[in-house]
Symmetry: C5
Subunit: 354 residues, 5 copies
């Protein structure tokens, strides 16, 4: 699970501010989507290098550059040069083990988020790092994968509902963050269903497998928490600390995302409590089963031990055992044994063991 | 339990500020109650649309609009337009998964609360979202259901005790909040009784069913907590942060509601501790029962195993076993066996196992 | 335990600021003691109504009105009218489920405390609510019962040690609070003794009864904590926040009470830890006992099962069993059985089971 | 353990500011050591009463009065009168159940500390209260016992290393505090050794005695913690809050003591964690032992029960049992029984029970 | 584990500000490396005494003195004299049990860190104390060992990448700190691998050895935590509190190290949770195994006890037992016994015990 620890050591010893891609090995091409728009114009173009994009960027309209893939140093450096980004920003963009954070570099805000999604193939949660650079008249977004994370915002720019509001970069950035946070609810739902299924199974049949499943799920909840908790500070920071890049009217919307984040965190905490409660139930049901097993053993032993003893007594070979000669001895001893057995059963029923 | 997660994903991808009803599917009509009053006048009218209400609202008297049902977008939007509410407010009104919060929109305060009640039919706790919009000369309340939550305040306006105080909107809003918080005590009482019943049952007969009941109750306490904890901040925020909409004299009353909230929270914490303590008792009583069972088994085995062995010895078919020939052999062996059995019993009594 | 929840719901639906007595039903008379004194004069009188007291109160000397019993609405209201108390203060005085708190109403400070005492009859802790109203030249104290809680302060006013200091109302109020906090130490002592007794018993003989006793005691510690924790804030608030009603020289004394409160809280925390530790010991001693029981069973079974088997073998009725014919067969088999038994015992002693 | 609770109740009901000795009954003489020194002079004298000391104190040199024994009211009061100490200070000096604290009385700082030491006789930790009064040109120290706690500082004043620094009262006070905190490390070492010994014993042989020892040690760690935790605030308070009695150059040294205190606290927290970990190990090793015991029982029973059954079968007295007549019946049955026994053993070895 | 406690007591009783080496006994020579450089010059020399270094230090270029070995008082004192270090700084340098901290002495900042590394020989974590003194134009680093901790920074000064940035002492100090924090990731990785290995082993075969390994690892995580947690404050302190020695441009880099520290702390917290989870799994798997063992025992006993009883009955020697005479008695009894055994097996299979 502590994968980041593993990957980070690649960087040990490099001078600070050196961008190095940390993540799974990737070779695919990087996709750059440049969107330039304002109230009147709209242009969208997919390019392979920043040079191709340069003619487009020479305008006062809002520029949104979305880069899918952060494993090619050259592209990241070119973007950095064109928009005067600090070397540490570039380093952080490529280091995909960042904690969610927001940093104010004066000319721009640098925001790191985790985009969570549910991978249907292996039924697991996936986290992808998204960096957002918010400048006066541009927004740059860096994604690890080519997933179309920002489809709804793109749709709105192209002419969807509320298009007029998105005419400021701060609202564009907010809109992107909002889309990411909305995804969390999908992941949370999937989690909730997994936990509920597990809970039903646990009550029906508590096996060691379930204990391991609970443990694994607890691990996932912990790493989910690790992605979402710092987000709280990040978004709170965006709202409270007055960067001049964020206007008053957008702040109200950011407060709204903040509320959503708190809701996600609340649900995660409830998940945690539920999982701990399930461990309690598991342990108590194991103890309970042991009790059941021991009761069966004890009942059997308590009934048959005295009876076997009696049978043993009359199996002795003493010369002088008067009972053996009696005509009613054998049926009599059966009667005695039945009486003992029955009274034992009654005793256990009284003790509520049966 | 994490129901909100489930419902929220309906909204993923919609532009922010889009009001969408999140909740169980509802088709019933929406009931709008308009109350217009001041020291001298009083008017109350039930209408179906905002247009019907418009003539009433054109006055400087206090206007209280109560809307039962938030699932009809059109009505919410009309109210929003008439009272100049922010799109995010309308979105939050319809999204019934809000966390209790207070937001200052300058012209009005937007307060979200949860109204808790005990449903007698399925013996469960029910939570309903209540939104209160407090403006200069109007108060708008949105409820999910048609329950008459604010009966007492309505009664007072109509001419009950302390009618003179309610002549300001801030006091009206306080009065509504107070009525909601008062309901919490009823739910808390019902909870307390459930816990006490469970505790008695637990001491009398600890079964796995009780463990599950404790677990379920713990879940309810957690979700109760989730509704009440943020309330603390909300009411504290109303008292401390000086919105010009709340007068000094009303603040003292809000402090009073704050005290009640703290009392509710304290009691919830005690419930939590009690439930955790009950799990401890349950686990220890299972262990204890196992001990009891094992003692019975051990006593039986310890008494009858040696005896059966002795009987076995004299059941052997060796040619030369002098004891078998003795005349007092059989009664003698009975004597020995009785002695062994009795001394075992004495031993166990000494060990306090009996 | 959550008694307050139960009683509070009496008030649901009443307009705020309505004083309603919440507590056990009481019918006894209310005792009003008026003490008027300064450096030169001293007057003490027991009255039944406020009117009787009015002539006494018309002076610039310090006026201390002590009211034993808060269940008679009329008296509370008369006091409120005479000293211009806010309706919420009167409501809080009669609602005996308050949390300790201090409220600054400008003209007076309203302080709520819990007076704890140990009831010898049922060996339980009792809590009584005490309200103190501290004004410029008067102090009003409301008690639930007729217990003489403030005997020592009264004695000092009548002419005891340090009489000169008590010539200001703030010092009088401090003196009353100090007397209440001093009582806590008595309750704490009684608790400490109970815990120690239980601990001794636990080590000597861990029974399920003790587990329940620990659970009950934990409940009491929790409710003790609930009474004392808020006191910390209350007294800290009195010391720090500069109400003009409290002079600098008295503040030093209040800091002293604060230290005492912290000491009480520290001890309560230690009690909690001790009780949790006792649950650990209980559970481990149950497990240990089970081990002991199982060892006895295993030793018995391990010794007698092989022996019974051997006896069984020579009890078989095969025609051709040469050993049966041997002259030394019977003693030989005894020798073998004794050897087996003894070596088993040696084995168990080596394993430290014996 | 909660001894202070027990002793404190002696004071209930006394007027505040009344010095009463709280502690074990003591009758020994009180030893007063007066040290008067500056760069040029040095005088040290042991006296019985303050009057004897008066001639010495009439100087501008630094005056250090060390009082061993706080159980004689008269001496404490005389000191109080001579140095104008507040009645509450005198009360706190004699009440040896104080929590570590620092109080600024304007003319002097009053510091309460606990001096910890390890008593070799009963191998237990001992705590003694030390009060330090730091004035402009005097330092008064009150100790409970006649132990020479401040030997090193005294040595330095007499002419040891760094004598020049101790020429200010604040540095003298710091030096005394430093000496007390240094003692904590000795106690911590002794604790560490005890825990390590217990840990070794626990791994070797987990008995209920060890559980009780862990419990006792946990209690000691809690009370150690109670003595040291408040110290953190105390020393932090001395460093941060600018009392004019403490010079800038001494503050750096106090920061150093603060670091030591944090180190002690860190180690105590590690002790706590270790002790909790030991309880886990103890419980798991009990469970493990039970498993071992049960395996032995099960192996024995599983081998001998079927065998005894077979022997029982051929001990039946049916007329027509052909096997009994066979010549190879008896050796054949032995073969079968050996086969069963051996295959059971192989089965258990496969299951890793052996 | 609490080694520092053990070593610290060496110092008890010494006057404050006395440098005493606390650590393992060392006799090796101390290595002093002096590096003097600026944009144009670069000089590096290894010396044995400070006198040898003096000619080098008489320059306005940046001076970095690295001292490997803090056990020789004389060298430390000479360095202190040359650079005007406070006696407490020297004391802290030699006391290798410091907690990470930063102290502002006006002319210089004194920073204490722990350098963590993984010792391959004994597969354990090693901590070494590193002191950094940051002055206007000099940086002094004290290490315990001769390990070349700062190889990368040294390389960069000699002419590596980004050489221009390191031309200020604050960036040099940052660069050294960054190199230390980078090492933490290597230790964290090694930890992560150990935990994962242990987890796999735990699931495969839970033995008491694993419980001890978990306990030991938990201890290591605690001491790792103790080294890293205070670092957070230290680096935060460097960034926030504006010492004039740290320039604005370097602050951004320090914020970067801060993020790394938080990442390390997050991972440590996850390790803790994982280890606690493993204890839960261990305990539950022990309980589970006990259940398995008990089921085997119960099945065997439940099948063979009734059968043995039946065999015993027909081994009785009663004169009149008609069944014994029947021709089909023996095969009949076999049939009965087989039926009983089979139905028991079916019963257990139904109960899912088989």
């Amino acid at each position: 699970m502590p994968k980041n620890a593993r990957k980070r050591s690649k960087k040990a010893g490099l001078p600070p501010g050196t961008p190095v891609y940390i993540g799974e090995h990737k070779t695919g091409e990087v996709k750059i989507t440049v969107t330039v728009y304002n109230e009147t114009t709209f242009q969208e173009k997919e390019v392979r290098t920043i040079e191709e994009a340069l003619p487009l960027l020479d305008t006062t309209a809002i520029k949104w550059i979305n880069i899918d893939g952060v494993h090619q140093l050259k592209i990241i450096e070119e973007v950095g040069k064109r928009f005067h980004l600090h070397p540490l920003t570039l380093e952080d963009v490529m280091n995909t083990d960042q904690r969610p954070k927001v940093e104010d570099f004066g000319d721009y805000l640098y925001i790191v988020l985790k985009n969570l999604s549910h991978n249907n193939q292996n039924d697991a949660m996936e986290a992808e790092q998204i960096s957002i650079v918010l400048g006066e008249d541009f927004v740059i977004t860096f994604q690890e994968d080519k997933k179309d994370t920002f489809a709804h915002t793109r749709e709105r720019i192209r002419g969807g509902a509320n298009r007029e509001k998105i005419m400021k970069t701060d609202f564009l950035a907010y809109s992107l963050i909002d889309e990411i946070v909305d995804n969390y609810f999908t992941v949370i739902e999937w989690f909730g269903e997994k936990i509920e299924l597990l809970e039903e199974e646990l009550v029906a049949r508590p096996t060691p497998k379930i204990m391991e499943a609970i443990h694994r799920l607890k691990g996932s909840v912990f790493s989910l928490r690790k992605s979402v908790w710092p987000l709280r500070e990040v978004i709170n920071g965006l709202e409270r600390e007055g960067s001049r890049l964020i206007s008053e009217s957008t702040r109200i919307y950011i407060r709204d995302v903040y509320d959503h984040t708190i809701q996600v965190i609340d649900t995660i905490e409830i998940f945690r409590d539920m999982l701990y409660g399930m461990i309690d139930i598991y342990l108590s049901s194991i103890s309970n089963r042991l009790n059941e097993v021991m009761k069966v053993l004890t009942i059997i032993a308590t009934i048959f031990m005295p009876l076997t003893f009696i049978a043993g007594v009359y199996g002795m070979n003493f010369k002088f055992m008067p009972e053996l000669e009696w005509h009613w001895g054998y049926p009599g001893i059966w009667l005695i044994m039945l009486t003992i057995g029955t009274s034992m059963l009654i005793y256990f029923r009284r003790k509520k063991w049966l």
